[in-house]
Amino acid sequence: MDSDLPLLYPIVLYLVLILAFVAGTLLISHWIAPRRPHPVKDMPYESGMDPVGDARRHFDVKFYLVAILFLVFDVELLFLYPWAVSAYADSPEGNPLRGGILQDAVFVTMLVFLTTVALAYIYALRKGVFRWR
């Protein structure tokens, strides 16, 4: 079985050139830019007031909820990609998923899957996860 890896070498080359560009810009600026430290420059900028306390404090639990939901729905999305690409594709040698009992089976499976996702969504909605107040 032939591999797709040789196709990827332009991406690796591109990545190397981007890294070189980023490093080069930072280095040039590092060499030619002046450096004049000052105690006021070293303070966090808070509109001219002296900062009170540390910036890394507790934050709203809502952000965690969004992260968890994102995980659920994004993984579900990843499952959908292979199906969306292959289920209705026309290939020259004929798509085994098209026509016949297999197409109906895949269709029903996907309907069940999407219903489960919709139920999960409605559950989260009723729990008030999407309400930011």
Partner: protein, 396 residues
Amino acid sequence: MSLLVTFVIIVVVMTAILGINSYLILLERKTAAWIQDRVGPNRVGFDLGLPFLKRLTGGFHFWGLGQPIADGLKFLFKEQVVPAHVDKVLYFVAPCVAVITALLSFAVVPFGPTPTSANPDVFPFVIAPNIDIGIVFVFAVSSLAVYAIILGGWASNNKYSMIGALRSSAQIISYEIPLGLSILVVAMMTGSLNLEKIVARQAEDGFFGWNIWFQPLAWLIFFTAALAETNRLPFDLPECEQELVGGFHTEYSAIKFVMFFLGEYTHMITVSYLTAILFFGGWHFPFIAEGDSTYPGATAVKILVLAGKAALFIFFIMVLRWSLPRFRYDQLMRLAWIVLIPLGLLNLVFAMFVRHWELSRWWLLPISVVLFVAAGLIGTLVSTQEKRVIGHAHQA
């Protein structure tokens, strides 16, 4: 394709992106000026304000075209202030991640005609040709950009940066889901994630084969979500100036600040190209750039058509920025979770039915319109009802 050709393409693309980026900032300022009835930057010519160059150009201003060059040089020569309380390593890594992810996501985006099974002899105008995961690669890489913002906000140890980064991370991951859902429908129509094949498929069917005719709703969802992903107004909560000074890049200066902006503008270019490729036929245009047009210079015309379509979307994004007010944060999250995700799912289910029953693709156009109108009606009803409830609460 030989290594040298690939190398040349990469260098040309990178130079073009960086050059276009700096002039996009000038275009943005000129657009703002045009909308607000001002003149905009028009003083800096190619003498860059330097006396010894002024003698060469005769003091002509060139309509401000020297501004991006002067800005770039200025940023390079500025002091890089690193505040005392930052996390040094992460503070340094964050802007690099922003640039790298933004530039790298352009690797599989075709910017001109590419070889197809019908005409395999075409020169491939794309950095990495024939990558079958195509659009998934773009999303995988460009969603890493959220790390730039989170790391930058966290490392800065500044309250504005921290709040900006938190908001931004929640916003970007929320809008990733509708973005993916809108792409799924396109993948289902084409049977491939390869961007070159998606363009070829649309070009085969001519003007009425463009995906926009069958998927206007998917385009709307895609464009809205992509705007939120690039942190552009009306979704620029992470850096809203009136509340958070500069948001996640408050503590960044000089070249590191430029890198964040480079990332944002490159992302904008990629999104515009993707919109043109996925929904508006790529390089295809009726009569002048068909799949079988072989007149001399046809290749150049195709590249220009695609660039022109992308430029239109970039200009549209800029006009949007100066026309729409910013969302409130709860409205922003509601739009993603309560409006766009259900709409995307419904759109997907209907597309699935149309494909399964082998109906004509044109069924999808009225379905899209009906879904859009229904969503608008339900949204208006719900929001007026909520206003009534809030009004009663105030009276009581």
